[in-house]
Structures are given as structure tokens and as C-alpha cells.
């Protein structure tokens, strides 16, 4: 009797396993379709794209769009600009977030709770509400069309501070006390104990910062006006304007801009998802 019961339970779960697998598979398919469109359109001529019936694969594969992209627009330059600014902002951002995170995780000091409240308050305040005054500030600094405007204002990211604090809390206090007895300075400990121990976290925070900078649109739109200075997002957004390029070229540009992000994610997906979700679950 016990045995039979178990069998029926397994039968029921087989149906549910099928349902669950179907849900996931349909979801995967739906997620993939817009990407398929993007890639497929990158290798088509305009006539092929706007012709009925609509096909998934190009009727004729062509590299025409990539030539348009490289010859008629500043695409290569935008790519370089984006890599340059995103890298600098990432390195500085990770370091500064780790510093603040270490202060919150490993030290007792006056106003600690108040300062942490500031971090949390900034976390809920949308940065874009300050668009106008921040732009005026950049103008006063002479930073319009200057990458300092991209790198500096968002450099200390409160979400990153929050993440780093959680990771650094796991560094054992005993290790730090032992180092103190051996005469280590606090700054030396930060560089020689804390940073090496939270290296995976630095990677996660770094990649998140890099991706955010890579994808940000509104702020570069506000502070970069010279199209040679554009980042990828502004560049791609305006490609139908002054350059009069076609759908295929826009999709080709989008494809190349998305590629590195997807590859990085493929390599580090486990760590990235863990890093992102950690804060939300602990509440």
C-alpha cells in the first residue's frame, strides 16, 4: 500500500515536471525572440526586412549593415569612448564602495547609524529627480562634453556600498585583530586583508557598475552634446537622425553593443545573480 501511494505521487509529479519544463521553455523562447530579430536584422538588407511574408532568417545574408556602421557613423569611436569611461568609473567606483562598505561593516564610530541611514535614503531616491540642478552644476564645473561628468557624479554608488558592506561583514574580526597586534595599519589592513578576501564581491560589483555605465542613456544624453564624444547608448539612439542609417545598421550597432555584456554575463552569471539578489532577500 505504501508502495502504491508513492508510485501515484511520482506519477503526479511527472505531469508537474512536464508543466514546469514547458513554462521554462516557453519563457526562454519568448525572451530569445527579440534577440533573434536583432541578430537576423543585422545581416539583412533593408528590402529583405520590409518584405512580406516576414521571415525569421535573412533571405540573403549580408555584411552591408556593418560597413554602413563603420563607414558612415562614428560607431567605433563611441565604442572606444564607452569602454574608456565605463572602465575608469568601474575601477574607482568599486574601490570607493569597498572603502565605505568596510567602514560600515568593520568599525564603530559616531553617527554610523545616521550615515547608514543616508545611504539607504539615497538608495530610494531616484537620481534622475536631480537632473536639472546636476546639469547646471556640470555647466558650472565646465564638465559639459567632458567625461568627468559621466565618471564623477555617479562614482560613489549607494547600492554598491550596501553590497560591499554585506560582503565585508564576513571578513573575520579575529584576523583583523591579529593583524593589529602585529602592528598593521588600518589602511594596510584594508588593502592586504579586506580587499583580497572579498575579491569575488569586487568582481560582482565591478561588473554591475560596468554594465550600468555601459547601458546608461539619460545622463549621457544630458551632458554630452558633441557626437564625437557620445557613448554607445546616445550614439545608437540618434542613429536614425543625422546619419540616416537604416534599420539593419541600427540593429547591427545594437547587436555589437550587446555582445560584450552578454558574454561577461555568461562567464559570471552565478556570481552576478547571487550579488544582485542578496540584498533583496535579506531585506
Amino acid at each position: 500500500m505504501f508502495k502504491r501511494k508513492r508510485q501515484s505521487a511520482m506519477g503526479a509529479s511527472r505531469v508537474s515536471v512536464m508543466t514546469m519544463n514547458t513554462i521554462v521553455l516557453v519563457g526562454v523562447l519568448l525572451c530569445a525572440i527579440p534577440f533573434v530579430y536583432m541578430i537576423s536584422a543585422s545581416f539583412r538588407r533593408e528590402g529583405d526586412l520590409y518584405k512580406l511574408p516576414v521571415t525569421v532568417y535573412p533571405r540573403e545574408w549580408t555584411m552591408h549593415n556593418f560597413h554602413t556602421l563603420f563607414d558612415k557613423t562614428e560607431y567605433v569611436r563611441w565604442y572606444g569612448n564607452t569602454i574608456f569611461t565605463a572602465s575608469i568609473r568601474t575601477v574607482l567606483g568599486v574601490y570607493l564602495a569597498a572603502l565605505a562598505g568596510a567602514a560600515f561593516a568593520k568599525y564603530e564610530f559616531r553617527f554610523k547609524r545616521f550615515f547608514f541611514f543616508l545611504v539607504l535614503a539615497t538608495l530610494t531616491l531616484p537620481f534622475h529627480m536631480l537632473l536639472i540642478p546636476l546639469f547646471l552644476l556640470m555647466r558650472d564645473f565646465g564638465w559639459v562634453d567632458n567625461y568627468l561628468a559621466i565618471i564623477v557624479p555617479g562614482m560613489v554608488n549607494v547600492f554598491n556600498i550596501f553590497l560591499m558592506r554585506q560582503y565585508i561583514e564576513s571578513v573575520p574580526d579575529e584576523l583583523m585583530d591579529a593583524a593589529r597586534i602585529d602592528g598593521a595599519s588600518e589602511i594596510g589592513m584594508f588593502h592586504r586583508i579586506i580587499l583580497p578576501l572579498v575579491r569575488p564581491a569586487l568582481g560582482v560589483v565591478g561588473i554591475l557598475t560596468f554594465v550600468w555605465t555601459w547601458n546608461d542613456f539619460l545622463w549621457p544624453l544630458v551632458v554630452l552634446h558633441d557626437d564625437a564624444k557620445y557613448l554607445l547608448s546616445n550614439g545608437i539612439a540618434t542613429m536614425d537622425g543625422p546619419y540616416e542609417v537604416e534599420t539593419g545598421a541600427i540593429m547591427a550597432g545594437s547587436f555589437l553593443a550587446t555582445l560584450p555584456i552578454i558574454i561577461v554575463f555568461l562567464l559570471m552569471q552565478r556570481q552576478i545573480i547571487a550579488g544582485l539578489t542578496q540584498g533583496a532577500i535579506r531585506g
Binding site: V17, M20, N21, I23, V24, G27, V28, C31, I33, P34, F35, M38, L49, Y50, L52, V54, L96, L99, A100, A103, Y107, F115, V119, T124, L125, P126, M129, L130, L131, I132, L136, L137, R139, P153, M155, I161, S185, E186, I187, W214, N215, F217, V222, L232, I236, A237, I250, M251, S254, T258, I261, F265, Q269, I273, A274, L276, T277, Q278, A280, I281
Partner: protein
């Protein structure tokens, strides 16, 4: 040598030495140094602009000075006029706020249940495509909003877009999507689903993996069925995830910008402003119409609305805890 030195000077008053002071007090001082970049940045790029913005929101911008005069903004004090106009007369602003609310409603009613369903599917044992699923569900989120906006603009094309081609396969004649006032919001909500369902499901998934198995097992032994276990054990454990998803969804809905900007080809905002969002209106007023004071007032109203909504949500979730 060193010890002799320490011995002889131990009882005498020492001349003040910075190095000595530092080695004794660094543990007290260092957290402030570590926090200095954050605090500086907070004052310069948050507190100061927030003050400037408040000041501006009571002014009318009359234009810019000539470059030789410094190129500053020429202002005129207007009292509460900007706020009054926004709250009582400005139909575009009202439309933008309503659109934000509609998008948010779509997020709550469609996106969250779907995300939870996907998470439950991903969490069930014997699932096959776990890694593929994780990649596919995360990819839309990390794709630039500009790229997403472009893709969907083409996918929604009435005659050649994939959306209507797929519908035609099912025998349905598709609408004009982003060119039809009634379908702009659904277009945006679908775009939102595509971007965020998978992302949010990963949060739910992480939450689900935090639910202790033995607790569920114990409840089952006590005779609780699957639905009751889900309702009384799984859902309460997911509370922080719900809070996170609802709050970020609310903030995100009212500050939606890049997706509608690209989808609708800003400064177009869809027929009858059906795709106008508050942040787009702020940008329009501040940078295209150079009415910085008015735009600042928009920013403040928007911030207050978002804070009220977030506060209300947090309160609701606190009540739920009891």
C-alpha cells in the same frame, strides 16, 4: 635600542607627535576617512542639487545670459505658481502621472504573478533548462534600454513587425501598436514584461531557495496540503522579495524614460501623449523648452509621489508581517 628608548620616555610628558597620535587613534579616525568620498559626493551631488532644485522650482526661467555675462540662467521669482500650474492646470503632466500609474499597475498585476510562476517553475526539482533559463531570463535586463526600445519599435511595426506576423499566424489582425493611442500602454507593458519578468523571477527564485525544506516537510506531515504550505510558509518567506519587487517596480514605473523615448521616437510621445512619462516630461520641459524652474517643480512633485508610494508600500508590508 628601541626598548630602551620606550623605557626612558615612558613617564615623561612627550612632545606631540602626529605619527604617535595617528598610531593610537587611527582606528577611530579611519572610518571617517573611508566614508569621506561618499559623504563628499552625497553633499555635492545630492544635497546641494536638491537645494538648488528646490530654489529653482519657485522660479521662472527667462532664458540664459550672454556668454560674456557668464552664461547663467536668468530667473524670476514666481512663488508657488509652478506647483499650482502642475497640480491644477497642466493636462500633460496629469497624463504623464496617470501613464506612470497605469504602467505600475501592469507591473503589479501581470509582471509579479508571472515572475513568481517562472520562479516556482525554475525551483521545482528535475527542471531541465536551469542554466539556459537563467541566461535567457537575465539577458533582457542587462540589455541596454536603448537597444530594447529600438528592437520593439521594429517588432511592433504594423505591417512588417514580428508581433503582427505572429498574430496573423493565429488568425488575428494585429493593431497598429505604438501608433494607436489605445495600444501604446499595452505595448510598453509587454516591453516591460519582456525586460523584467525574468529578472524579478531570479529574485523570487533566490527567495524560494531560502525557504527551509524541513519546515515545509513538517507542515506536510501535520497534514497541510500543497496550497496551504505555499500560502502559509512559502509566501511569508518571500516577503522581503515582494517588498523589493513592488518598491523598485513603483520607482521604475514613474521614472521610465529610455524605453518610451526610443519606442515612440521622442519628442513624439505617442498619440494623445499616451506614452508620455513624468521623467520624459521633465526632460522635455527642462532641456527642450529650457524651463528649468518648471522642470524642477516636476522633479519635486515626482519625488514626493514616489516617496509616498514607497512609504505606503513599506507600511503595508509591515502590517502583513503581524
Amino acid at each position: 635600542m628601541l626598548s630602551a628608548h620606550t623605557l626612558t620616555t615612558a613617564n615623561k610628558p612627550q612632545p606631540f607627535s602626529l605619527a604617535d597620535w595617528w598610531s593610537r587613534n587611527q582606528r577611530k579616525v579611519i572610518p571617517y576617512i573611508f566614508l569621506a568620498p561618499f559623504l563628499l559626493s552625497f553633499v555635492i551631488f545630492t544635497v546641494y542639487p536638491a537645494g538648488v532644485s528646490l530654489f529653482l522650482s519657485f522660479q521662472r526661467t527667462r532664458g540664459f545670459q550672454q556668454a560674456e555675462e557668464g552664461g547663467g540662467v536668468v530667473l524670476e521669482y514666481k512663488g508657488w505658481a509652478n506647483y499650482e500650474r502642475l497640480l491644477t492646470k497642466d493636462k500633460r503632466f496629469r497624463e504623464a502621472m496617470i501613464n506612470g500609474a497605469e504602467f505600475w499597475l501592469g507591473t503589479l498585476l501581470v509582471q509579479m504573478p508571472l515572475a513568481l510562476a517562472v520562479a516556482l517553475a525554475l525551483n521545482s526539482p528535475n527542471i531541465r533548462f536551469r542554466i539556459l533559463g537563467r541566461l535567457a531570463f537575465f539577458a533582457p535586463y542587462i540589455t541596454s534600454a536603448v537597444v530594447v526600445g529600438w528592437i520593439f519599435r521594429f517588432v511592433y511595426d504594423q505591417n512588417f513587425g514580428w508581433m503582427n506576423s505572429a498574430l496573423a499566424q493565429l488568425g488575428i489582425e494585429g493593431p497598429a501598436w505604438i501608433r494607436d493611442a489605445n495600444f501604446v500602454m499595452p505595448s510598453l507593458i509587454i516591453l516591460g514584461l519582456w525586460t523584467w519578468v525574468g529578472f524579478n523571477s531570479l529574485f523570487f527564485l533566490a527567495g524560494l531557495q531560502n525557504v527551509p525544506d524541513d519546515l515545509k516537510e513538517a507542515a506536510r506531515i501535520d497534514g497541510a496540503n500543497t496550497v496551504r504550505v505555499f500560502w502559509h510558509i512559502t509566501i511569508p518567506f518571500l516577503r522581503p522579495v515582494f517588498v523589493f519587487v513592488v518598491v523598485t517596480g513603483g520607482i521604475g514605473s514613474f521614472s521610465l524614460f529610455s524605453q518610451p523615448y526610443l519606442l515612440l521616437d521622442f519628442p513624439n510621445t505617442g498619440p494623445f501623449d499616451s506614452g508620455l512619462f513624468p521623467l520624459m516630461y521633465l526632460y522635455d520641459m527642462g532641456f527642450l523648452n529650457i524651463r528649468m524652474g518648471y522642470a524642477s517643480a516636476i522633479g519635486y512633485i515626482l519625488t514626493v509621489v514616489i516617496l509616498i508610494i514607497t512609504g505606503m508600500q513599506l507600511l503595508l508590508f509591515r502590517l502583513w508581517k503581524v
